[in-house]
Symmetry: C2
Subunit: 127 residues, 2 copies
Amino acid sequence: MDLAEQYRAYIACLNAREWDALGHYVDDRAQHNGKPLGLVGYRAMLENDVRTIPDLRFNIEVLVAEPPHVAARLRFDCSPRGEFLGLQTHGERITFCENVFYTFANGKIVQVWSIIDKAAVEAALGR
Amino acid sequence: MDLAEQYRAYIACLNAREWDALGHYVDDRAQHNGKPLGLVGYRAMLENDVRTIPDLRFNIEVLVAEPPHVAARLRFDCSPRGEFLGLQTHGERITFCENVFYTFANGKIVQVWSIIDKAAVEAALGR
């Protein structure tokens, strides 16, 4: 399987909010930043993200694939409402990036190590 | 040229503080997070990092190479003294990661997009 292609399909799935299809891309044993979320917890995390950020859209800026890993730099241009990264937000439109590493097994994400640019978010919010 | 091998040699150069060899790995046009540092500015940035964090050591946790890109998740276990990421530090030993993307041209780094896990640093410092 072409991991880059599979990853792009995963991102399209997120942007379409097709949560019922998430199991095509995320494994039942998926971990996120060391937390054993599983598919159910992973979906709950994404649904919560979209509740806080209704206009959340994942834009791939850099994609590096070397099996079993995919690394992506994602760019967001969105308007969080409520608590985001421990900061109170009120619908301000902000731009920031996430640098994230995925490990795949049998074409599905089993591990994620994500860092969001909190300093950029703070700067955008004027903190 | 094997980019993963070249990248490992770059990291060994940093850990050995062999600043005079930096030009083997970093291009004269190098940019870091959008700033046009060049080799001179890049070296100054690293020398400043090491002044603030004398025990700084770069540990590669994940390495993903697909020309012209290398992506790395780096882990640090070190003791900053002074201002670090806008936070005052006093030699506390902390552990945190950096997720970073490099673009290479002719075997040298021309662009870097780095995000350090500031939330982890804040948590480690008890902020």
